[in-house]
Symmetry: D2
Subunit: 481 residues, 4 copies
Amino acid sequence: MGLMSPEEYKMSIQRMKVNAYLDGKKIENLLENPVTQSVVEATAKLYALAADPQHEKVLTADSHLTGKKINRNLHVNRSPADLEARADMALLTSQTLGTCNYRCVGCDALNALASVTYEIDRVKGTEYHSRFHAFLGKIQAKDGALSGAVTDAKGNRGKGILEGDPDMYVHMAGRKTDGIIVRGAKLHQSGAFAAHETLVLPGGALRKGEEDYAVAFVVPNSARGITYILQYNPLSVEREQAEDIFHLGNPQFGQRETCLMVFDDVFIPYENVFLCGEAEFAGVLIQRFAKTHRMNCGGACKVGFADIIIGAAQLAAEYAGTEKAPHIREAITHMVRISEASHACAIAAAVKGKEEPLGSGVYMPDDLFGNVAKISTAHGFWQIMALAGDIAGGLVVTLPSFKELKNPATKSYVEKYLKAAVPAEKRMRITKVLQNWTAGLHGPGTWHGAGSTQAQMISLHRAANIEEKKRLAKRIAGIED
Amino acid sequence: MGLMSPEEYKMSIQRMKVNAYLDGKKIENLLENPVTQSVVEATAKLYALAADPQHEKVLTADSHLTGKKINRNLHVNRSPADLEARADMALLTSQTLGTCNYRCVGCDALNALASVTYEIDRVKGTEYHSRFHAFLGKIQAKDGALSGAVTDAKGNRGKGILEGDPDMYVHMAGRKTDGIIVRGAKLHQSGAFAAHETLVLPGGALRKGEEDYAVAFVVPNSARGITYILQYNPLSVEREQAEDIFHLGNPQFGQRETCLMVFDDVFIPYENVFLCGEAEFAGVLIQRFAKTHRMNCGGACKVGFADIIIGAAQLAAEYAGTEKAPHIREAITHMVRISEASHACAIAAAVKGKEEPLGSGVYMPDDLFGNVAKISTAHGFWQIMALAGDIAGGLVVTLPSFKELKNPATKSYVEKYLKAAVPAEKRMRITKVLQNWTAGLHGPGTWHGAGSTQAQMISLHRAANIEEKKRLAKRIAGIED
Amino acid sequence: MGLMSPEEYKMSIQRMKVNAYLDGKKIENLLENPVTQSVVEATAKLYALAADPQHEKVLTADSHLTGKKINRNLHVNRSPADLEARADMALLTSQTLGTCNYRCVGCDALNALASVTYEIDRVKGTEYHSRFHAFLGKIQAKDGALSGAVTDAKGNRGKGILEGDPDMYVHMAGRKTDGIIVRGAKLHQSGAFAAHETLVLPGGALRKGEEDYAVAFVVPNSARGITYILQYNPLSVEREQAEDIFHLGNPQFGQRETCLMVFDDVFIPYENVFLCGEAEFAGVLIQRFAKTHRMNCGGACKVGFADIIIGAAQLAAEYAGTEKAPHIREAITHMVRISEASHACAIAAAVKGKEEPLGSGVYMPDDLFGNVAKISTAHGFWQIMALAGDIAGGLVVTLPSFKELKNPATKSYVEKYLKAAVPAEKRMRITKVLQNWTAGLHGPGTWHGAGSTQAQMISLHRAANIEEKKRLAKRIAGIED
Amino acid sequence: MGLMSPEEYKMSIQRMKVNAYLDGKKIENLLENPVTQSVVEATAKLYALAADPQHEKVLTADSHLTGKKINRNLHVNRSPADLEARADMALLTSQTLGTCNYRCVGCDALNALASVTYEIDRVKGTEYHSRFHAFLGKIQAKDGALSGAVTDAKGNRGKGILEGDPDMYVHMAGRKTDGIIVRGAKLHQSGAFAAHETLVLPGGALRKGEEDYAVAFVVPNSARGITYILQYNPLSVEREQAEDIFHLGNPQFGQRETCLMVFDDVFIPYENVFLCGEAEFAGVLIQRFAKTHRMNCGGACKVGFADIIIGAAQLAAEYAGTEKAPHIREAITHMVRISEASHACAIAAAVKGKEEPLGSGVYMPDDLFGNVAKISTAHGFWQIMALAGDIAGGLVVTLPSFKELKNPATKSYVEKYLKAAVPAEKRMRITKVLQNWTAGLHGPGTWHGAGSTQAQMISLHRAANIEEKKRLAKRIAGIED
């Protein structure tokens, strides 16, 4: 076995039977349903990029277990250079797909486990790290698409974990001799149904008494007891009904497709369990996951999206003949400024990355820059959408159907009146791309990817060395305590 | 005749035959097509509000022509109090409909004509003002829904009107003894197809040589030669396919529906023509239109929308149990601050309104505050959407279909895992409302309503008395010239 | 007696002996010390403006006690029109002085007392309102300059009033048969030393047990036991040392001069006491004060300053020859936009003002718009300073001394190399004005005038009708409870 | 010779006679005048830091000419690691001094010349590069403090170089057999008078016909014909008059001191001339200078300042007892976020640095990230000042003199009423530090350091690969040309 080809990936998904629902109906074939097809196509493209000599350096790595070439999405970062390549992968896949690298969360979850299982074993004398390595070796060998699941359903946030319905957080509902039974649900799972396996982490720090919730494991996505309930929004309906995907805003790869992933007493054999009751390690596990994920999500993934938006806005201006107006040039430049400031944060987070814990060989990005990347992007992406929405013009809202271009009653009108510096169809197409970005689900999505901004503000406050800054100020002020 | 009832309005639309297309197909019945139905329902609601004693004061006025009670959408403002009531109407209809008052542009266009026809007649000895009054009396008497059309197709903006395709701007393609022939197209027409008549103004200032483009007129919306090509976007498809409108983000009244309105050699009798070649008045006409429209669009209409968004965000927080977190309270307060600052601009624009031109009896809002209202809102509405998108949580993006609530395979999961401080369905419903606002077409729409922000910046620079400010600075500096 | 003339005011201040200190030294003569002189000059100018027929309408009013013409700074607002005139006064004095109307806080304090003494009397059967009217009649008759004092020293904010040093808040340290003894200190008192009397209010809401702190009174500024310790900063030193005040950024009227005003067991006869132990009314008193003061401070006073800044920035650009650059025009327009949005809030607050409490005849501005005015300005003024600092160029920082213009060794160099579209001296002068605004104490001052922004956010949250907004959202969502 | 000690530096400045003026008077002794003393002290501290083993790695480097240890301010960057160290030096000196590293501009100017002289020689066959190396070897050997001068007086910006007074830009007023005569003036020169030599570059790109302006050279700061006219502002006066420097906002090192540096027919021997008429290279020279300088100025120097401000704001909150309020924590976190985003840009600019031109061995930072660093900081520093001004409280404006602490009449009052969680003096001291930063000249200074933001927006537009972004957008849109 080596790297999987796009075709092999599609065949494997064809064979895998998942219990998934969209708009109240069971999905019979992931490759044929127009919505799930976009996820399969995006994931297949990831396999294609890894096989493309031009992108190989970014999309593949050498396994530290075997030395063999593996997909970077299954790689444990062993150096700052690895972290840089990890961010570069996020940038490249966003630029190429205009949607999720659906293997991204799995990759960051895997790195968190590599680091924390090492630490648990040293503190508690457990054997999670070798168990994890056994799993890692297998999935690297078969080049499996690995999804990651973090966010619990949570229910009423005003209540603690132990106060409400016990199922609001994924937990062990039973322990057996050969494995555990897990129950609960994970929200906002990007594309899990079209990956082979999912790595599940606890969604937050845990306290004494919450040991049953301290559970991390990997599970095949077709496992008995797992149900996927897919998101459904205007863009889903539009795609379902489209006669020609080129009438859509991101024709091939679609919007980010997520699901509610329900675990209804799913059995997990111990060899696939990497945390099992050690509540005191849940916090550090999610924190290490967040470190890498915030760097990638804020400082690379959304930067790739911004590149598409900036390019499309510039084209829209050129197509309308307004590209030389000073305020258009300024708007474009501000979009670059905002986006590249986040990009810089990812680069800084990577190059300042450190081995954590010492001796593990696992490298984590700098937490301060990672959090700044994500917060800057959460605010900045709205500004970029706003600027693009301004440049794009009212047509982003009022665009007629592409079918009018074939309607004898309206074709000549649309061709005539939507023509500008280029023919109407070209203008409509770039406008549709911008509609997807400025009038779609990306704004709220950017707030919530990699966790809420408020969570990052708290992390940032912790990561910032405020005491050192106080020392500098006192020295300047001549204050001695 | 008196005020029309909602039922009478619907019947009249039923009778009116318009040549309209949606997604490449002709619309057979405006009341039955799910998309156009939302426009009819919104407009019918406007008639209902005028008949509602609670809102009568805002929605009706006394005609200065007849003294009879008329719908305020057909009223010419005669005082600052009228201007305040005009803005109050925009606020109320937005709060109620969550979409366009489709009679709004017509109302502001009508005020611009009342002012400018008076002025042209005084300068040129024409008789447009009485002609306009004749029309006004008739439409007030029958309480017709009047749409307004301003934005031309324009084509390549790098070229002047006379340089490219002559049809890119609506113009007189011929003059006959009893009327004129008009040709061209207006973009972004909000709901014209469900109004009775449309008032058409030139889209910008004109120069000598461009006399054929200096044309303003009213036309029945079913006139021969007019074709409506409707916008078509993900929300259109979602509405078309919805089994239950309560699965939509704005169930009854929908999103703002617009169209490309094509004039293919439409005949307009002279009695309906209010500008006919006086190129030097096109600029002032559009400027007067913009004055009132920017006040309403920026300082009242979007404020009403913001009220819905703020209420929905607060509910979403309460439903999730997060409403007491300081950052949530702060976000809500900022949303209020941003929205009410724009609201204050509309109030200031109205109370500082002046008769223009003197002797006309027509009152126009203050131009400085009107422009500030619109620019503040253009930027601020994105901030409000962003804050709402933050409060709303990831569910705004990842919400599953309402049909899952009836799907035996998923119903119990969705009910269980989306429940928080309230049952799942309630939470899903308010999330859907927020999806409509934070992940829909409102952001770009807000930039472009009432013209581009750049146009308003230019108006604002002109309206600001910079010379007086220089005088103040010189006095402080002790500079004497 | 009628309105005081500027000369009479100066003579009265000459006669008044206050115990004031600057830079560790006692001030012997307020009219001769360069720092306090600027306050006297600014206040004298207020008297001059009231006597100027051009400004009379704004600066004077008819007393509701006597019907006689009085200075508006001593007027109780009796209508929305009065509130508008009050804000207009703040605008005009800021435009004229470029510093504090030092009678402003006294005016707003006086309005709060007019309203609240009426209310206390009705609830408690006291006689504060008539006592207050007696005082009001006297000070109106002599046209006294009345200062207002609100902010207590407070000390450690982590502790409650009763937990720390009892003197951290002004309070009754003793009650006698004919009056009370007050002790404590008020911070940030703008120009009290150059006014005749000061109206003192409690600095915040009070609880049961804090009755001694519930004290409001008026006191002559030369009363025994009062000490003024003046602020001292780089601009103070610059003014002290200036050979020619025209080498300063605001030559005649200076920066806002404040002081720490210490009450060291000051005796106040009962006729001058307007709150004496009614702790439950302290909160409403400060809230009513804040209502008017935030409207004026945020929506008028700083708008007048902004007018000077905008004018100076425009002149700096013209003097440097850069005024036609698009980004300069845009920056100027944004400054106008920001400033006028706050201005609109003051207008809206005034016209939406209401009698409070009903029957009192006292009008208070709308609280929502007043708070929005102040918060918008607190943020916006920094943006205006920033934009002005950008337009002004590096010279704002690197400006040499005006004395170089007379130094034979450097005169020709400065004249030559600082010349641009105008001679060097003119350019230096406008640069000095901009230095005063963009590199002085105005930024922090704007945050803290009329209380902290956080206090206003809380007021705004309370003033916003969130429940009504929730109702609107539920109606749109089709949610029924 | 090796590294100079702080004492040797001071003695050398004592010996150097410069023709400098402050407030219209000649400066007799740079070490004794309180204003110039602060520059000498700051520069001496730079020498001390280089000798400090803790900071040696940052402050020194190995000369590529001799392999000997030199001060990093005289080093030519030979690798991305050098660029990182260069930025680290800017960070450290700002954190330590709270004012300029007065050798900074010289260092960046020197790097620009190293790169461009190599390029000119290859294109034109000149010998500037070896001449430059000869100079570099000498100044490295004696560890001279080298200033840099870039910004010309310019005069009326509406006119071209050749249209107005020829002296508005530094130029060759004559050429002799052994050297050239230069005339003109440089504005905004940071601390030139307390450095040993100054490297002078043209201030912008030049065209054919402007050859006389294409001149770069080094000159001893005491050269005949050079006059320094120092800036003079409120902080200068405050320092001149201070009895105790610990009553100032930055006691030891002061504010950034600049001067107008006049060249009145100064003779420069050819060995010190590194550009002499090659107008086509002026643009690239200033561009290379800007590359390094924007990275340092925006992404490191101001970050060090921000560290002091954040520390001081945190202390002010702790001293007042408000540090636990959520809005204070949030404000602190935002300050960190803003500052570190700029810091990340410097790191990214350094690690993405490249040899330029190839073969020269000289490394330049990435231009895109360098410009983003500076623009982000230009906007962000105002936000940081604003947030600090909010946290600091009104005392930043209304602080009394430190002398009141020794004034028997006021001492007890000040000690009592300004005490909070710490004694009054400590609180006053940190407030004074914050006054220096939030109410001083830093805001405008930040706009203009390293050139105007508009210049950086233009550079950024050029540095951004917009064509590549268009390609990405077209691919997503399915547009083929």
